[in-house]
Symmetry: C2
Subunit: 241 residues, 2 copies
DNA sequence: TGAATTTGGTTGTATATACAAGTTGATCGG
DNA sequence: CCGATCAACTTGTATATACAACCAAATTCA
């Protein structure tokens, strides 16, 4: 079942396709080999090649059309997932973490994304902490934090632990006449059709109920393709100037 | 390929399982029939039954353990998805909508969730509008809005069109010393392990960069299982009191 | 020329089969 | 009583095959 590298066959094909896409050897919207071609090339059955293509489609890397072929999706749909993948890889390379209520504080070579964010050089040592937040005995949030080592002392003393998004947004918000709920959801069929996103691309859903003269007047929900925000300007709350 | 009802076989099995779960005939965390049992019951091959189980797992309705069986996931993971499914069904029953830049305003029998939100009776007529927002020639957001028909005139005159989440959150935010990015993402492996959620459960990811003395000090990302918030208190921005 | 048809290729669904990998519970042996 | 082994069952991966549904381009025919 495994091949020589100990990897599953469909995973091997996925990695191959991903590498072609990431290096732009297969550019955006270009047609990629068919199921049969991949099956021949990797000496597997069509169903195995199909699985690789299908999972990549669900992950937003490809899109496919019956009777036509499989194509490289636009980078707007990909980049978010790929970047997360890198971060996760870096962290997992650290090994296992206990499900302790909080903390795992060590030094770590700085991953690329973090280096950019902190203005450090890549692989420079940073303090790394991992915290699991619980609510009602259930794990609710995972926090991975990278701290500039030269300034650690100050921040360990101060409010080092992040607020939860819930606390945070609740405190932020002097709103007028509306009640908002933000959720991360998978897009429904209608959203998918109009936004042209794969079924697996998570969306931000903002539900808003408006009040007037003491009664609820309108109910709206509003779905945004989450990853799109990475380009056109994130869903960002700017710092006070 | 189709059965008598014109539905695909795996879809039939999915519907059956969903009905059992929704009516609590199969309670939370209970073991459900194995692939082989379902295959026999529906007179299909194991691979077809498997597909139904697998898609429901990806949708967070079930969880499965190799060598053990398939189980009903906790309602915390399900409810969000199921509710959305109902809304989407109601909307799609309206037929097709053009990808116009905005508006499709008609009267509609009020779906259940909306009725609750507006304090109307179910199936009472509401004004329904559908708006697609574009950014850079690309569809960015889908807005479905239900308006209490008795109070429509006021709100058509006023600021009827919702701000985008981006505009909205940007305006909201007198923040101290941090820059935040909220994204909807699929959980990485690490998050899944700690939060015990299926790979398909979308999460809110809040990325925070903290500043001090003019320099970036810490970078953290924080992932929350989106649907969890539906119970313990949504990720809510409260109205000004 | 132009409309209808055919043809070949592609993805979608479904079956039947085989073995690997993992869990559980019963059996056996000390 | 405890531990190891075994057997049965479950999900996971993979193959080989078949046909349906769909599309695009070439071909045929009026």
């Amino acid at each position: 079942m495994d091949n020589s590298s100990g990897q599953k066959k469909f995973a091997t094909i996925k990695d191959y396709i991903l590498s072609q896409v990431e290096t732009a050897a297969w550019p955006e919207h270009s047609r990629i080999p068919s199921e049969n071609e991949l099956a021949t090339q990797f000496a597997v059955s069509r169903m195995t090649a199909r699985r690789a293509l299908q999972e990549l489609t669900e992950q937003g890397v490809l899109y496919r059309t019956q009777g036509v072929g499989s194509f490289v999706a636009s980078p707007k749909s990909q980049s978010s997932l790929l970047e997360i993948r890198n971060i996760a890889d870096e962290i997992q390379r650290r090994g296992h973490f206990h499900k302790a209520e909080l903390v795992q504080l060590t030094s770590l070579p700085c991953p690329g994304v973090v280096a950019t964010a902190l203005g450090l050089s890549r692989n420079a040592p940073v303090f790394f902490s991992l915290i699991v937040h619980y609510e009602n005995q259930q794990p609710l949030q995972l926090e991975a934090r990278y701290v500039n080592p030269e300034q650690v002392p100050d921040y360990l003393a101060q409010d080092f632990v992040l607020q939860t998004p819930h606390e945070y947004l609740s405190a932020v918000a002097p709103l007028t006449d509306a009640e908002h709920i933000v959720e991360a959801v998978l897009p429904d069929e209608l959203t998918r059709q109009h936004l042209k996103i794969p079924a697996s691309e998570p969306c931000l859903r903002l539900t808003r109920r408006t009040f007037s003269r003491g009664g609820a007047v309108s109910f709206a929900y509003l779905t945004s393709a989450g990853s799109r925000y990475r380009l056109g300007g994130h869903l960002t709350i700017h710092p006070k100037t």
